[in-house]
């Protein structure tokens, strides 16, 4: 943290923390108006009413854009105009009328969609929950679709998301603990966990990490992930990002921690291992054999996508004796007319594939179909017919591109794609020798990683007692243990008879 930020923070604290509400409500109202730049700030509303029961002035402050005006009309303005009683809290008959004593709380409450009331002659203010932030309705998951299984996804509202998680696990021990990040714009982060399973050490660690974030704003979980992870420069992710509440529920059951925030149609799950990133929720929704069949295909794809291009480069450039003659002659004949060295060919095609992929994400929807046409032409026929690349390279690049889509998790997907380029370059360097060397280094690095204290390849290596859900999974009935590498308080998933 730089000195500049510390200074800024100190000034802020002096300016806000210590400023209590004054005796005179009118002064307080003026101060609030000043704080919120009333008049310039168009949706900041200020109303002055006269209470019916004691004929005193009441000032209301709220953001019109984020509150429910019907609620204000019904529960505040109407009672004030018509209600009878001796106290404000009697008149406004809602439970969540909170007393506030300083300006910081007042501003926070207004920012969070509450309404603040100040009453003449009263040195305290009141705030009440009337927020109505607009958000999308619950829709289907966009990037983690399944054939079998629930089709609800998180949406950009914290409240809705908590509701979706609660729906998954109806347990009194499911705790939603709230803390906030950001100094200028406070956003609430909700930690969700099952309190009699979760490991307290990890929980404490996460809490501390969230509390130690000292920036002005953290808008959503995608940014939060980068603030709390241990190794921001690593090519391996250490937090799982998912948009599926059912997936979140599955991890909660095992004793993981979920982080939710407003403005994110996803949650963060931690701590995670390689296997968690590698799995898809559908593996568990399918029957034992089917799920494991998918797993086998996915693992094979994982291998192909990282290695096929690199293996091709190293075999063709350094070890032609390892290629069976028929294939060798086919490749050689195809390469007779190609002007580039093989490594350039491969890099060209891999780059072209990444290009299509990136362009496909960025392209405006109406132009979508062009990608397919242009891509197919560039990558397929034209390049081959123009003798720019050999048809075998098209097959290799298409294979490595296609298999990379099988890795569902976006973060791990990037890992794999970047690794592929590392391996291609290493293969071009000294063939199999350097490829194996670099693969070893890469693997050693991966094995040395930890996500919140949990080794990356646990429970396989180092071995831990667990449900055995690594490369393949067991039948659900045979799963007795929770994953012990995240050290849950309760290891038993299933009570043994």
């Amino acid at each position: 943290m730089s000195r500049l930020q510390k200074g800024k923070k100190a000034i802020k604290q002096m300016y806000e923390k210590k400023e209590k509400l004054q005796e005179d409500a009118k002064d307080n109202a003026e101060r609030l108006k000043q704080l919120f730049s009333y008049g310039i700030n168009k949706d900041f509303s200020y109303k002055q009413l006269v209470a019916d029961y004691n004929k005193k002035k009441i000032y209301l402050f709220f953001y019109a854009s984020i509150v429910n005006s019907d609620k204000i009309e019904e529960f505040i303005i109407k009672p004030i105009h018509e209600g009878e009683g001796d106290k404000l809290s009697k008149i406004i008959n809602t439970r969540d009328l909170i007393e506030i004593t300083d300006f910081e709380q007042a501003t926070d409450d207004i920012n969070n969609g509450k309404i603040v009331l100040l009453m003449e002659g009263d040195s305290i203010g009141y705030s009440m929950e009337v927020s109505d932030f607009k958000h999308r309705a619950i829709s289907q998951p966009a990037n983690e679709s399944v054939i079998r299984g629930p089709k609800e996804a998180f949406t950009e509202s914290l409240f809705v998301n908590i509701s979706l998680v609660r729906k998954q696990i109806r347990d009194k021990q499911l705790i939603t603990e709230q803390s906030s990040v950001g100094t200028r714009s406070k956003q609430s982060v909700v930690l969700v966990y099952v309190s009699d399973i979760v490991n307290d050490e990890i929980l404490k660690n996460v809490r501390e990490r969230i509390e130690s974030i000292e920036v002005d704003t953290v808008r959503n979980v995608e940014l939060l992930e980068q603030y709390i992870e241990e190794r921001p420069y690593s090519i391996f992710p250490s937090i799982l990002y998912t948009e599926r509440p059912d997936n979140a529920g599955a991890y909660l059951e095992d004793g993981h921690i979920i982080l939710l925030m407003d403005n994110s149609a996803a949650c963060l799950i931690l701590p995670v291992t390689f296997w968690d990133l590698f799995h898809s929720p559908e593996d568990r929704y399918s029957r034992f054999i089917f799920g494991n069949f998918t797993r086998a295909i996915r693992f094979f794809s994982f291998y192909i996508t990282t290695m096929i291009s690199a293996a091709y480069v190293s075999l063709a450039n350094f070890h032609s004796e390892m290629i069976p003659p028929d294939l060798l002659f086919a490749i050689t004949a195809a390469r007779e007319y190609v002007p580039f060295p093989l490594i350039v060919e491969i890099l060209l095609m891999e780059f072209a594939f990444e290009l299509i992929r990136e362009a496909g994400i960025r392209i405006p929807n109406p132009l979508g179909p062009t990608i397919g046409i242009v891509g197919a032409l560039i990558l397929g026929q034209a390049a081959v017919e123009a003798n720019i690349i050999s048809p075998i390279i098209v097959i290799v690049a298409a294979l490595s591109g296609l298999t990379s889509f099988v890795i569902a998790d976006t973060s791990l997907n990037y890992t794999v794609r970047i690794s592929r380029f590392i391996f291609i370059l290493s293969a071009a360097f000294l063939g199999m020798l350097s490829l194996v060397g670099v693969f070893l280094l890469w693997f050693m690095y991966a094995a040395s990683l930890k996500s919140f204290g949990v080794p990356f390849f646990a429970p396989l290596a180092p071995y831990y007692k667990s449900s055995g859900d690594t490369m393949f999974r067991k039948a659900l009935r045979a799963e007795i243990w929770r994953p012990s590498h995240i050290k849950p308080k309760d290891l038993h998933k299933k009570q043994r008879k």
Binding site: S320, P341, L430
Partner: protein, 416 residues
């Protein structure tokens, strides 16, 4: 700490620059030798090497209509294979590699001379030549063999050798003669090595009663490629001493535990009507049992060989009812066993008396009786033990089947 990470890419870049891509070669910059032929040169110490280079463009779909030849055969004089490849580059455009070589062809003249072992040594030394390369001895000069060999169907040479050798060795008419085995047996200084015998020169066809008693060049054929692979060249101590025909080669393959013997079709004399033959599918499901008992004092070995085998009768041209008549059946069993035993004993005798060593790789069974290698060498398998060993051959017919049909057509009913 962060500062140190900066060095990693720098070091990596230095590595790239300093080592470069040592050994890297693009595929299309190489010429692949499929077959190497070795002949005696004009002077001693020189040899003439013939390289058969594959042309990858032929047979590849995208360069359809390539009217180039599928292969290029060049001959050059040199003192060893590897340097000759370099000399050949004076008229071959690409780097000649021997990685994909399938066969080495030696002319019989060279094989029978003392120089053969000198030239083949290179093959053991260089990593370029695989140990699985098959050794072929050609009756004529190797260069003639390669030039005359014009397969009608498998025009791509690597395919031709692959299929030809695979099929021929499956039927057992040629031995499995890879380079590794050659060095193993020659260095071991016991046993005989069998190389494939082949030729493109059709000599006088031998009028023989049996289907496998030929050596290459004698098989009476009409049409097709002139090249014949049949029988084997016998090497003793790295020098060729004799030729075995197809039948003897098959027997060697049967008796040798280290060679996989699948099944072969052969004919056996019909015991009831001797003018006919009975055709059968001989298959050996288990390895032959070789029992060697060694008498240290007299340096004498007793070798008992038991060969369990199975027979499926394919044809009985004499139409004798062997299937259902027990007496005949028994007779057939005995006659089959006896005829194979006879042939085998003859070959064993020949090897003991004529060659003074065995082509069956039996020396491996006796080695365990010796304390160490010097003791074993002193006992001298080749000169002393094997020629004087008492050998009994015993074939055991475990099962006799008659195919899909028990009865043959009744001749007297057909011809009434």
């Amino acid at each position: 700490m962060i500062k140190h990470y900066g060095y990693i890419p720098v070091i990596f870049l230095l590595l790239l620059i300093l080592t470069g891509c040592y050994d890297r070669i693009e595929l299309e910059q190489q010429s692949y030798v499929i077959a190497v032929g070795i002949d005696k040169g004009e002077e001693t110490g020189t040899f003439s090497f013939t390289f058969q280079l594959a042309n990858p463009e032929v047979g590849a779909t995208l360069s359809a209509g390539s009217d180039e030849e599928p292969q290029e055969t060049v001959t050059i004089t040199g003192s060893d294979i590897i340097t000759a490849t370099n000399t050949a580059n004076s008229f071959i455009t690409k780097k000649i590699t021997l990685d994909q070589t399938k066969v080495i062809i030696i002319s019989e003249e060279l094989a029978r001379s003392k120089d053969f072992i000198r030239v083949i040594q290179t093959a053991a030394r260089t990593p370029q030549i695989r140990r699985s390369v098959q050794l072929i001895v050609s009756k004529e000069n190797a260069s003639d063999f390669l030039n005359n060999n014009e397969p009608k169907t498998e025009t791509r040479p690597h395919k031709y050798y692959q299929y030809m050798l695979n099929r021929a060795s499956q039927t057992g008419i040629i031995p499995d003669a890879n380079l590794h085995r050659f060095f193993q047996i020659t260095e071991g200084d016991a046993d005989l090595f069998l190389a494939i015998y082949a030729t493109t020169e059709i000599s006088e066809p031998k009028e023989s009663g049996s289907e496998d008693e030929y050596i290459a060049g004698q098989v009476p054929q009409q049409g097709g490629s002139k090249t014949q692979f049949m029988g084997s060249a016998v090497f003793k101590e790295g020098q060729m001493i004799d030729i075995l025909d197809g039948q003897d080669t098959r027997i060697c393959n049967i008796l040798d535990k280290t060679i996989e013997m699948e099944e072969l079709l052969a004919t056996y004399p019909d015991p009831i009507k001797p003018e006919y033959q009975v055709s059968a599918n001989y298959s050996q499901k288990s390895v032959p049992l070789v029992n060697v008992s060694y008498d240290k004092k007299n340096n004498h070995a007793k070798i008992d060989v038991t060969i369990p085998f199975e027979i499926e009768i394919i044809a009985i041209p004499s139409l004798v009812d062997y299937a259902q008549n027990n007496k005949y059946n028994q007779k057939l069993r005995e006659s089959i066993e006896q005829s194979i035993e006879e042939k085998t004993t003859k070959l064993v005798k020949k090897s003991q008396e004529e060659y003074g060593s065995d082509p069956f790789y039996w020396s491996i069974y006796i080695r365990r009786y010796f304390k160490d290698i010097p003791a074993y060498e002193e006992a001298d398998w080749n000169k002393v033990i094997y020629p004087n060993a008492s050998i009994t051959i015993n074939y055991k017919l475990k099962r006799l089947e008659f195919g899909k049909m028990l009865k043959d057509s009744k001749l007297n009913e057909v011809r009434d």
